[in-house]
């Protein structure tokens, strides 16, 4: 090969790089390892984490432990899906393209929206992109964003980060009320003709199912767009979908639909809207067309919104769609289907409501909010610190302490119960919480 190129050594290929750079380029790292040694090293690291099988987790807060049928990993492990690139050459990417078209359809059906893109990074950046999309749609006189304080704290943080550098934007938070839902009175008071969009969680961070009817009415009255954010989309197997509430943009985190928790990533953000806004949409879109012989086929389309064509005028800089994760969710939703997704959602409701009823019957705990909920709820504990310690000793993580984001809720716990939490586990949790002698 060297002879073909006409050089004596590979180093000659580097001669044009300044010597001062080359001389200091050595990488100070250990030498390579055998595959066996690598697997042992990684297994050792993995064993130093508590998993949802070794421990009882009652953890949600944006990442959910759900059952994943074996067929999901079988499909996404296929190298034809895992080791292909973004489908720029459609003739040899029909597998990925058709799967993405099906994914877009499933998200439309689940959310009750008209169009969906092929996916974005995660729920939080999807929420930020939704606000930026509203900014492209709304006139310049509307630059005020009203964000529910009951929206996931990470999502609020990412929206804040994304908007900070845009000088025209103004961001206001709307408090929550005693039911745990966005305070509609306060929202209505703050809405005006400068308001660009209202952004609320559904279910919100406290697991509360927001009543979106008055919120939608208030938005419509002032010409603001309604952005609905769903971190737990399994809920939409049972709940009235964002489209039916009149959402302009519906986004969320897709992890709960067939992607392992994996410390919170990768999952994917789903992103849906109304047809009339299609040219303002960020991200990849797959469309149906025909080939030169009239056969159905799929292509990436409306790319004139995107960075590789429009550069600084693009709707977003995003050029991934977390495709392997959206594929996992496509397989997951296909397997569950119409009856399965509803059943799984019902089982979550049933177990979570049962658990809450049992827990609030304990004198140490009381319900924090009165609103209807899906599979998460907030309880106030008499002595949270000691409760957490008793649980840890029993290898239980009973929930997420809320004080880190909400100082007024520093004695409160966000508890999630899914189909993965067996009855005995719930019994054990109730028992440990009730047992104050073991401290």
């Amino acid at each position: 090969m060297l002879r073909t190129i006409g050089i004596g050594s590979i180093e000659e290929l580097y001669q044009h790089i300044p010597e001062t750079l080359r001389n200091r380029a050595k990488i100070e790292l250990p030498g390579g390892l055998t595959e066996l040694a690598v697997r042992r090293r990684l297994a050792a690291l993995a064993s130093n984490n508590a998993t949802a099988t070794d421990w009882s987790f009652f953890l949600g807060g944006g990442i959910y432990h759900h059952f994943i049928p074996s067929a999901v990993d079988t499909v996404i492990s296929r190298s034809e899906f895992a080791t292909s690139y973004t489908p720029y050459q459609p003739e040899v990417s029909q597998g990925t393209l058709q799967a993405l078209f099906e994914y877009q359809t499933l998200i439309c059906q689940l959310t009750g929206m008209e169009i969906s893109n092929a996916g974005v990074y995660d729920g939080a950046s999807a929420a930020a992109e939704a606000v930026l999309m509203s900014r492209r749609i709304q006139p310049m006189s509307r630059r005020r964003v009203l964000m529910s304080r009951a929206l996931h704290p990470h999502y609020r943080a990412v929206i804040t980060t994304y908007l900070r550098n845009l000088d025209d934007m103004q961001l206001d938070e709307i408090p929550f009320d005693a039911s745990g839902a966005t305070d509609v009175t306060e929202l209505t008071r703050k809405l005006d003709h400068q308001s660009m969009c209202v952004i609320v969680g559904y279910p919100n961070f406290f697991g509360i199912i927001e009543n979106l009817a008055p919120i939608q009415t208030a938005c419509a009255g002032k010409g603001a767009q309604l952005v609905i954010v769903t971190p737990e989309p399994l809920a939409l197997g049972l709940l009235k979908p964002p489209g039916a509430w009149g959402a302009d943009i519906a986004v969320g985190e897709g992890q709960s639909l067939g992607v392992p928790m994996t410390l919170g990533g990768p999952g994917f953000g789903f992103f849906a809207s109304q047809k009339k806004f299609v040219r303002s949409l960020p991200g990849r879109l797959v469309g149906e067309t025909v080939d030169t012989e009239g056969r159905r086929g799929f292509v990436l389309t409306l790319a004139t919104r995107e960075q590789h064509i429009r550069r600084e005028k693009a709707t977003s800089n995003i050029c991934t769609s977390q495709t392997l994760c959206t594929l996992a969710s496509t397989v997951f939703m296909s397997l569950l289907g119409k009856s399965g997704i509803r059943r799984l959602a019902e089982v979550n409701v049933s177990r979570a409501h049962d658990a809450r009823d049992r827990l609030v019957s304990r004198p140490q705990l009381e319900a924090c909010f009165s609103g209807a909920f899906f599979n998460e709820f907030v309880l106030r504990a008499r002595n949270l610190e000691s409760l957490l310690q008793r649980c840890a000793a029993a290898r239980i993580v009973p929930g997420v302490p809320l004080g880190q984001w909400y100082p007024e809720l520093d004695d409160c716990l966000l508890i999630c119960v899914t189909e993965m939490n067996e009855r005995e586990e719930i019994e054990r949790l109730v028992g440990v919480i009730g047992d104050q002698t073991s401290v």
Partner: protein, 505 residues
């Protein structure tokens, strides 16, 4: 050949079988009411609280009703309609389509990584924190930078994060400034990220040699310029050899230097960005560090900075105290979060696995071999194609369709014809500064035999262009579908299956 046979089949067959050759139906066009690939009995407790009816929906109209085997067959058949690294040579320039080792997949699926929750107490996530902490140190060493955040989900989000750091730093100094300098060879994400970060873009031209020169930068560098974004090696596969002088010019006027690390696969053991005057860079772990591209994600785009920018990095940050790993949020100057939780942890596990597998020599050897392979192709293809820039290239080389113009054959035709030969085409029509660009990045994981086979196919196509241009212009002939009508897709977008609108015909 295969295509012709399939046509005969579908034309002569009245029943249109769901064979390999015919297009699979959509999920929504098969199945039967009540069917499901999931079994779970109903559960209901007596007297339990429940959700008011006003919040509930009916069944989801149109949702699939399929059995498990039907679902598996559907996706297996779809998979047969994809090219992928494990079946085809995939020399997409700037994408670094190297082999994705299987061990990465095995370890990423260990329950100790896949079944862990990000909001669990940090005391029971020490293994994950150690991995992240180690990976941070390793990437700092490879890049020659000082501090890093693993949070960004992808290269483009890394860019945006990096620009936010620059903006935060300049704002702190009194003025965020207004513009970002971007060369004409840059990836489209560079200008797009600049806009998202509230900056205007000043595009500069590269020289006839395909690089940017100091004088051009000096001419546009002013007090209102926040930063320059440089890709090195650039998208022409050329090393920006004046980068240190350019950085000096930018620094002198109070600006900062951003390096797009998309092409880091050329640099390991060769040169470190941290020594080039770079203040901020992102790395694409799905390129240099072998994590699978997945048909378009997930990837990971960590951002590394020099010390002066570290206090602006996203939170939380992992610190090691008394042999325990902790998360710190209290960095008042931080730009905040760019995504939820810890970034794409599953991808970070794979990249870490790759790096410790290869070790120092393996990483350095990767870059050397990537250069060797690219230059080998560059030299061999000169026989049939016009090279864009004559000098030795780094990890990728660029050709054009100029010699084929007189036969009416263009880059798109060449790319489509390559599909018939069983190769994924190079990146085409990018970078924009080269008319009809064919951008070839073989990577280090291909054998000389594979490179020869690719070259042979390319030269055969050059010959066909001369002797039988129609066979090239009408390509591909052997793929599951022929050229697709992209104009029609954009003019009347059908973006979902919808029985009511004829989208399912």
């Amino acid at each position: 050949m295969r295509e012709r046979r399939s046509n005969v089949l579908s034309e002569s067959s009245a029943i249109k079988p769901q064979s390999e050759a015919s297009a699979p139906r959509l999920l929504f066009e098969s199945g039967s009411p009540g069917r499901s690939g999931f079994y779970w009995p109903a559960e209901r407790e007596k007297g339990q609280t429940t959700i008011p009816g006003e919040f509930l929906r009916e069944d989801i109209p149109g949702f699939p009703e399929l059995g498990e085997l039907e679902v598996l067959r559907h996706f297996t058949r779809l998979s047969h309609r994809n090219f992928a690294i494990e079946s085809q040579f995939y020399p997409l320039g700037s994408c670094t389509m190297k082999y994705n080792p299987k061990v990465n997949e095995v370890v990423a699926r260990l329950p100790g990584f896949a079944q862990i929750h990000p909001l669990a107490p940090i005391e029971i996530l020490q293994g994950a924190m150690e991995l992240l902490y180690d990976l941070e140190r390793i990437l700092i060493e490879i890049s020659g930078m000082d501090c890093i955040s693993l949070q960004p989900s992808a290269g483009a989000q890394g860019e945006l994060t990096g620009l936010m750091l620059i903006r935060a730093c300049l704002t702190e100094k009194g003025n965020p400034r207004k513009k970002i300098i971007v060369p004409d060879t840059a990836h489209g994400t560079n200008p797009a990220s600049s806009t998202l970060c509230g900056y205007d873009v000043v595009q500069i031209s590269s020289t006839a040699r395909g690089v940017i020169d100091t004088a051009t930068v000096a001419k546009v560098m002013a007090e209102d310029v926040a930063a320059i974004m440089i890709t090195n090696p650039n998208t022409l596969g050329l090393f920006e050899r004046d980068i240190e002088a350019i950085a000096a010019v930018v620094h002198q006027k109070g600006g900062l230097v951003y390096l797009d690390g998309a092409n880091l696969n050329a640099l390991m053991g060769v040169a470190k960005p941290g020594h080039m005057g770079v203040d901020v860079l992102h790395m694409n772990l799905h390129k240099t560090f072998s994590t699978p591209h997945g048909g378009g994600g997930p990837g990971a785009g960590p951002v590394a900075v020099k010390e002066g920018l570290s206090e602006y990095l996203p939170v939380p940050r992992i610190v090691k105290q008394n042999d325990k790993f902790e998360l710190l949020e209290n960095y008042p100057k931080s730009i905040g979060r760019v995504r939820s939780f810890f970034g794409n942890f599953g991808i970070l596990v794979r990249a870490y696995t790759y790096i410790i597998s290869l070790g120092r020599e393996g990483l350095e050897e990767s870059s050397r071999m990537a250069l060797l392979n690219a230059n080998y192709i560059r030299k061999k293809l000169e026989k049939g194609y016009q090279i864009a820039y004559g000098e030795p290239c780094m990890h990728e080389c660029i050709f054009t369709d100029r010699l084929q113009h007189k036969y009416g054959v263009n880059t798109l035709d060449i790319a489509k014809r390559l599909l018939d030969y069983g190769f994924h085409p190079p990146t085409i029509y990018f970078p924009l500064v080269v008319s009809g660009a064919l951008m070839i990045e073989p990577t280090e994981t291909e054998t000389p035999e594979m490179l020869d086979a690719f070259v042979e196919a390319m030269l055969a196509i050059a010959q066909e262009a001369k002797e039988n241009p129609d066979v090239v212009k009408n390509a591909p002939h052997s793929t599951p579908v022929k050229r697709l009508d992209e104009a029609r897709a954009a003019r009347k977008p059908i973006l979902r299956w919808d029985p009511g609108q004829g989208g399912a015909e």
